[in-house]
């Protein structure tokens, strides 16, 4: 079930797809079950003898398991190759790093584009609605299959950070430390509103066909591209957009029309949208944004966020935010930290000064990387890792 591909000469990568049989269903928050289940994942590095060096890296909305290896479709380097790699904060020489494609995704894990075993056709909208907790439950099943009882760390940014918080709430005894970057404990009205724009763009595309586009041999590429364009604006800060593009034009003078993009920022967004549709499935986008919108960790704990962390007092937390992130702002991270403190959990928190917005998770941010390095170093010595 696994094949070895070298991401860079120094990293040993592995992974594949875990196939869980029909008699081991994933029970979903909605009440539905999912079986058989496939969970696609990549690993970097080696599990040590006492199985104490496993790190789960959780990806964001449109991410996937290729955190530190070349993406099979785009050919681009892994989305977190500034954090995972030799000499980097998550060094595969030291840690066994696991990254799974979330369920509902479209890179190998069971999702709306998977074949429904009952009908023999892609699920489409008959796929059950999933939640962040469901994603985490599936990850826990993968760890069971890999024989990993306790994670040295669960780490993630954005939706990945929400999965980390859910891990702390649901499986605190399986967690040594947790890193939550640029995330929130619940989706705000503004967050939901932006997602609704994206979903409506997809569903307004005539090629969406009520979600059954695959059966018709088409894809709602225009709608998905618009969804991506709108979302992409939320990942950048106004200052970063201004610095990168300002009012610079694509060519000399205005076109006095609408076909070609006049401004560089338009061209950039169109490119973002167009390249996104090559690697992402429209229905997955609907399902995963739904999962994010449903996320409210306090709501499932009597409305008190601290209650979610009461069992996680032995877990060491690191919460990080970016000063110019307006998607999941520092205020959201602060709420998480206060809840952790109130629950008696040990937490570190810093707001990283940057103008790069939410996207800073993936970019060159020396303070982010030194904070991660310091946190993992101290936790590794607490855990007794070589």
């Amino acid at each position: 079930m696994s094949q070895t591909v070298l991401a860079s000469p120094a990293i040993e990568t592995n992974g594949g797809t875990l196939r869980l049989p029909v008699d081991a269903p994933l029970r979903l928050d909605s009440g539905a079950t999912l079986a058989p289940l496939e969970i696609a994942y990549k690993t970097y590095g080696r599990l040590n003898a006492d199985r104490s060096n496993a790190v789960l890296v959780c990806h964001a909305l449109t991410g996937d398991q290729h955190a530190a290896s070349v993406h099979p479709i785009t050919g681009k380097p892994g989305w977190w190759n500034r954090v995972i790699g030799p000499g980097l904060p998550l060094d595969p020489d030291r840690y066994f790093i696991i990254c799974t494609n979330v369920i509902g995704g479209c890179m190998g894990s069971t999702g709306p584009s998977s074949i429904d075993p009952v009908t023999g056709k892609p699920f489409g909208l008959t796929f059950p609605v999933i939640t962040i907790a469901d994603m985490v439950r599936a990850q826990a099943m993968l760890l069971d299959a890999l024989g990993i009882e306790t994670l040295f760390a669960a780490v993630g940014g954005s939706m990945g950070g929400m999965q980390v918080l859910q891990w702390a709430a649901d499986y605190p005894h399986r967690l040594h430390s947790a890193v939550c970057i640029a995330a929130a404990a619940r989706h705000s009205a503004q967050n939901i509103a932006f997602h609704e724009v994206g979903r409506q763009a997809i569903m307004a595309d005539p090629d969406w066909r009520g979600g059954a586009y695959e059966a018709h041999g088409v894809r709602p590429e225009k709608g998905l591209a618009v969804a991506r364009m709108a979302a992409h604006i939320t990942y950048l800060s106004e200052a970063a957009l201004q610095r990168k593009f300002g009012r610079e034009l694509q060519r000399d003078g205005l076109s006095w029309g609408f076909d070609a993009p006049d401004f560089q920022v338009e061209s950039y967004l169109r490119h973002q949208g167009a390249s996104f549709v090559d690697r992402f499935d429209a229905n997955s986008y609907l399902y995963i944004t739904r999962a994010l919108d449903y996320f409210d960790l306090a709501a499932s704990h009597d409305g008190v966020l601290a209650n979610a962390f009461r069992r996680a007092r032995d877990v060491r937390f690191c919460v990080l935010s970016f000063s110019s992130d307006w998607l999941y702002s520092t205020g959201e991270s602060r709420d998480i930290v206060r809840a952790l403190n109130a629950a008696g959990c040990r937490a570190s928190f810093v707001e990283i000064e940057t103008d790069k917005g939410h996207d800073a998770i993936f970019l060159e941010e020396p303070v982010l990387h030194s904070a991660l390095r310091g946190f993992f170093e101290s936790q590794a010595s607490r855990r007794g890792l070589a």
Partner: protein, 219 residues
């Protein structure tokens, strides 16, 4: 900053090993690093500057970016054995509230305060008629972060008012080793440049379990 070193030495002497310590205004985490290395404490810092917290994290010190005036309320009761407030009480907007919070969060508080009653302060004020600028308080009045300065007597009065017991007190100055003092003696209000207090609650107040006697705190 060599004054801090003497301050640190005395704190290091007073903190018992393997305890839980909250350092409010922990800066770049130097004191917590020292306490972790020397006493094996389980430390947590609170620091207002992002660069300070980032430096803590890079050193492996747990620290939260936050404001001692606002964020102490979110810590649970008796979550720590010690709360340390090193030379920052006078920079707080609500020092009285902060002291109350310290004693709620921790069993003991280590608080150091620059003494505005020190003879150099009095002399400078008497002879020049201007706000004193000394080694301990070097900033001019218009840029000083110290908005709530007090004398040794002011501080002991507040402690009494809040029902806090002074278990130990030492005078610390930049270049001399700490000197154990009785803060109630008037002479100390003249000669202690900075005073470090070990505070607990007056005995009847907490319904908490019996604490160890003070004897082993000073070995």
């Amino acid at each position: 900053m060599s004054a801090l070193r003497e301050d640190f030495k005395e704190i290091l002497r007073l903190v018992r090993p393997n305890t839980r310590v909250l350092d409010i205004g922990c800066g770049e985490g130097d004191l917590l690093e020292l306490l972790t290395q020397e006493k094996g404490v389980d430390g947590q810092g609170l620091e207002i500057s992002p660069s300070g917290v980032a430096a803590c994290l890079a050193k492996g010190i747990a620290a939260v970016q936050g404001d001692g005036d606002r964020d102490l309320d979110h810590f649970p009761t008796q979550a720590f054995d010690y709360a340390i407030l090193s030379k920052t009480l006078q920079q707080m907007r609500e020092p009285r509230h902060v002291l109350i919070e310290l004693m709620r969060i921790a069993d003991r508080a280590l608080v150091s305060v620059p003494n505005f009653g020190h003879w150099r302060m009095r002399w400078a004020l008497l002879t020049k008629g201007r706000m004193p600028e000394t080694k301990a308080l070097p900033d001019p009045w218009w840029s000083t972060p110290n908005i709530h300065l007090c004398t040794l007597r002011d501080f002991t009065t507040l402690c009494a008012e809040l029902g806090l017991r002074i278990e130990a007190c030492a005078a610390v100055s930049p270049d001399q080793p700490a000197r154990s003092i009785d803060p109630a003696r008037p002479i100390e209000n003249w000669r202690a440049e900075t005073a470090l207090f070990l505070l607990t609650r007056e005995r009847p107040r907490p319904p908490a379990p019996e604490r160890a006697t003070t004897g082993d705190l000073f070995d």
